[in-house]
């Protein structure tokens, strides 16, 4: 396998892996806090489930970036195209915005959502506001995704 293709695969893999780690840690943090709240009042489950699920989107973004790269280099269809080393690097670097932004923002969004869950324990009616705080961290994951998508869009490759 050529270096170019290897690099492209590495980029795609890093996008989905790091995004997944960010979400996993984030949802885990929020879930732990949520479980603590439920131990006192299981009735709050409906309000908490959204808060706990919110950091999960970063993994989806990473997965999307992975998918876009895989389609672009033809690997999903089984006909991988030949990539030069530079093209491979370009694809690898294109994946980094979403990979790194989702990794870090996922973890921090998890912390915000965990705090939101703790707040919902005392003031259940304000759970919606906690959700908005959590959504604010997501801005940067979204920007990372947009950057990745536009860069990928701009890289012109021979058709598979």
């Amino acid at each position: 396998m050529e270096i170019g293709l290897l690099l492209a695969i590495l980029g795609a893999a890093s996008a989905v892996a790091l995004g997944g780690i960010g979400s996993a840690v984030g949802v885990g943090l929020a879930g732990r806090e949520g479980a603590g709240v439920l131990s006192e009042d299981p009735g709050k489950f409906g309000r908490l489930i959204l808060l706990v699920a919110l950091p999960g989107t970063q993994g989806i973004y990473g997965f999307l970036a992975w998918f876009l790269v895989m389609v672009k280099i033809g690997l999903l269809g089984g006909n991988a195209i030949a990539l030069t080393t530079e093209q491979g690097w370009a694809l690898f670097i294109a994946c980094q915005p979403v990979a790194l932004a989702c990794l870090v923002s996922g973890i921090h969004q998890g912390k915000v959502c965990a705090a939101g869950a703790a707040m919902a324990a005392k003031k259940p009616e304000a759970a919606g506001k906690a959700l908005i705080f959590g959504a604010m961290v997501e801005t940067y994951a979204v920007l990372g995704l947009i950057a990745t998508i536009l860069i990928l869009n701009g890289i012109k490759l021979p058709v598979a």
Partner: protein, 648 residues
């Protein structure tokens, strides 16, 4: 479209009528009660709550009876549970039901049965534990008491040790006499007999070797005999518990009226608690609160039946900030009140933003979701849920909201060619003709369109800020503060568009307009300052702050990202399903399953994200320009029930 009009109401009632007046007001379910002493400081005290503690006690008893009987209720399927309607009662019927049922007696009976059952369960558990312990020692033919106290100066006990400790055990010394009762590969069971004074020491040594001292009952029976006796007792317990279960099961038919009684008690207790908000003189109780204009006459009518025992006074409509806020909107806008509520209700002097965010919210939600197929699914599910399932009014409202969102999503999906992310080659030609922009192949165009919509909303927000300032401080001030920005934004946009060549270059003249507007900001933002330097300074700082507008508009780019995510994940699901189809035998089934599960997952995740982020955009980039919120919620005094619905 505004914040609803609200009247202040005072009710003066003879103390004997207070309970009935509260009942009447509770049934109306539209009066917000205030702490009377905050309003009329001169009065002290409140009407005696005679029944409070009795009602609390009865409520606890009935609730524990319900908890005891619920396990014996016939279980319902999930569908039955969702479709089951809450029973409806009128308050008079509840009072009669209470008497007919003999609630106190019934609850007491159920509770005593349940208590007895719990006690028996504990006894069964402890006997079971002893039986388990005895089981290993049944080969012993001596009485347990004889083993425990063989002589007055010795004591015996049962020991279990891991087999490998055997050597060490026997080397513990001559003070210990051992009798091996049983041996397995891993364990040794023996009796140890020691002098009383070294008993504790020996036990400790045995424990150090990993051994366990087994506590068995000290009785005049062999293990086998004791086991038999205990087994007999267990059987008796089981039989009695079976009878108790039968009795409880029979009583479980009374569960529904018992639940209704519970809610009746709860309602009465709520009235008792409401009494704390009243104040009183020697013979008269005073109640203060708020009632919406729409319910004022009905309240007056209901209280008329008390004749001269009750006098009602209305004041209003209330204008000041202290009054709680009631929203009144038409049927299309009303579901979106929930979005406004997340942020906060308007204060009385503000206007209700809900009608304004309704179209924006629906549109942006649709753009974030971007698939006509998903839109249809949402419409279908929400319509069916509202029709066939019994839902609380809050959930019903939410269903209406997403129905509207779903409708918009269908429209946007048609414009972007999204039908469950099917590739465009497979779409019929009329569908392809309707496509305005395909997010996947033209992401930058899609982005510009979304940013354009964001620009429009931010601009509209500035105009609303003009309206807000005009209402509160006059048109002149509004012109100073907002007009420069309202002109600046589009003129800068036009200039930039001409500069990068998107529109004819004649439009660069807009640059001059922009400069004039910028000058307007600098000169007029600090209009209230006499000092020219200060005024210009404040204005310049405000102009500098205008750079945050770039960030605000860029924030809308997330809608483009979400739209792309929906399409992208949908494509991934389709692609994977195609691959899976190749599997022999199960391929087709797996493909269908993957398609359904994958698209459902995609729909849920993206609908959720679309809702949260669209709301966030309204709150931060839009509300921030003209809306403060933080109004006090109008909380009507209503009968709060758990199991039944109260019919007025």
């Amino acid at each position: 479209m505004a914040v609803g009009k609200v009247y202040r109401v005072f009710v003066f009632a003879l103390k004997v009528s207070v309970e009935d007046v509260l009942a009447e007001i509770q049934e109306l379910a539209s009066v917000h009660l205030e702490n009377t002493r905050d309003v009329i400081q001169e009065l002290e005290g409140e009407p005696d709550s005679s029944e409070g503690s009795t009602l609390s006690r009865k409520l606890v008893q009935v609730e524990s009876a319900i908890a005891a009987l619920t396990p014996y209720e016939k279980p319902l399927t999930l569908l039955e549970k969702l479709a089951r309607e809450r029973p409806r009662y009128r308050v008079e019927d509840l009072a009669r039901l209470d008497e007919d049922l003999g609630v106190d007696r019934l609850a007491a009976e159920v509770n005593s049965l349940a208590e007895r059952d719990m006690k028996l369960a504990r006894e069964a558990d402890s006997r079971g534990a002893v039986l388990g312990a005895l089981a290993l020692w049944e080969s012993l033919s001596e009485k347990l008491r004889d083993v425990a106290s063989p002589t007055p100066s010795t004591v015996g006990f049962f020991v279990r040790v891991p087999a490998k400790a055997e050597e060490q055990l026997f080397s513990l010394g001559e003070d210990v006499a051992w009798e091996v009762l049983g041996r397995t590969v891993s364990q040794l069971r023996l009796i140890a007999v020691v002098w009383c004074d070294v008993a504790e020491e020996t036990k400790q040594k045995i424990a150090e070797l990993g051994g366990e001292i087994v506590a068995l009952p000290v009785v005049d029976r062999t293990p086998a005999q004791e086991s038999q006796r205990l087994a007999g007792e267990l059987d008796a317990i089981r039989a009695e518990r079976a009878k108790l279960a039968q009795d409880l099961a029979k009583l479980s038919s009374k569960l529904e009226p018992l639940r209704a009684s519970r809610d009746y008690l709860a309602i009465r207790l709520q009235r008792e608690e409401a009494r704390h908000l009243l104040s009183s003189t020697e013979r008269v109780a005073v109640l203060a609160g708020y009632v919406p204009e729409t319910k004022r006459d009905e309240l007056a009518r209901r209280l008329e039946r008390f004749g001269s025992a009750v006098k009602v006074v209305f004041e209003g409509p209330v204008e000041d900030e202290s009054a709680p806020v009631v929203l009144s909107n038409n049927a299309v806008v009303e579901p979106f009140e929930m979005v406004t509520r997340i942020f906060g209700l308007p204060q009385r002097h503000e206007f209700d933003p809900t009608p304004i965010i309704t179209p924006f919210f629906a549109l942006f939600f649709a753009i974030a979701l971007t698939d006509a197929g998903y839109g249809l699914v949402i419409m279908l599910v929400s319509a069916l849920a509202r029709r066939f399932l019994k839902l609380s009014s809050a959930v019903k409202g939410f269903m209406r909201l997403i129905f509207v969102g779903g409708m918009m999503t269908v429209a946007i999906g048609v414009l972007t060619g999204g039908y469950f992310s099917i590739p465009q080659e497979y779409l019929p030609s009329f569908a392809r003709r309707l496509i305005l922009v395909d997010p996947m192949t033209e992401p930058t165009t899609f982005l510009y369109m979304v940013l354009g919509l964001g620009f429009l909303q931010v601009w509209f927000g500035m105009m609303l800020s003009f309206v807000k300032h005009a209402r509160s401080e006059g048109v002149r001030v509004a012109l100073y503060l907002d007009l420069p920005w309202i002109v600046l934004l589009p003129s800068v946009a036009l200039y930039l568009a001409a500069w990068i060549g998107q529109i004819p270059s004649q439009w660069t003249v807009a640059g001059y307009v922009a400069l004039a507007a910028a000058l307007g900001v600098v000169l007029f933002k600090g209009y209230e300052h006499r000092n020219v330097l200060l005024r210009v300074g404040v204005g310049a700082y405000a102009l500098y702050g205008g750079t945050s507008l770039i960030g605000d508009i860029l924030s809308y780019s997330r809608l483009m990202a979400f739209g792309l995510v929906t399409v992208g994940i949908g494509m991934a699901v389709n692609h994977l399903s195609r691959l899976v189809r190749g599997i022999p035998v199960f391929g087709l089934v797996a493909m269908v399953l993957l398609l359904v599960a994958g698209h459902l997952f995609n729909l849920l995740i993206n609908a959720f994200g679309a809702f949260v982020h669209t709301a966030r955009l309204q709150f931060i980039e839009f509300f921030g320009r003209f809306y403060e919120g933080g109004g006090r919620e109008f909380v009507p005094f209503v009968p709060q029930t758990k199991y039944i619905d109260v019919e007025p």
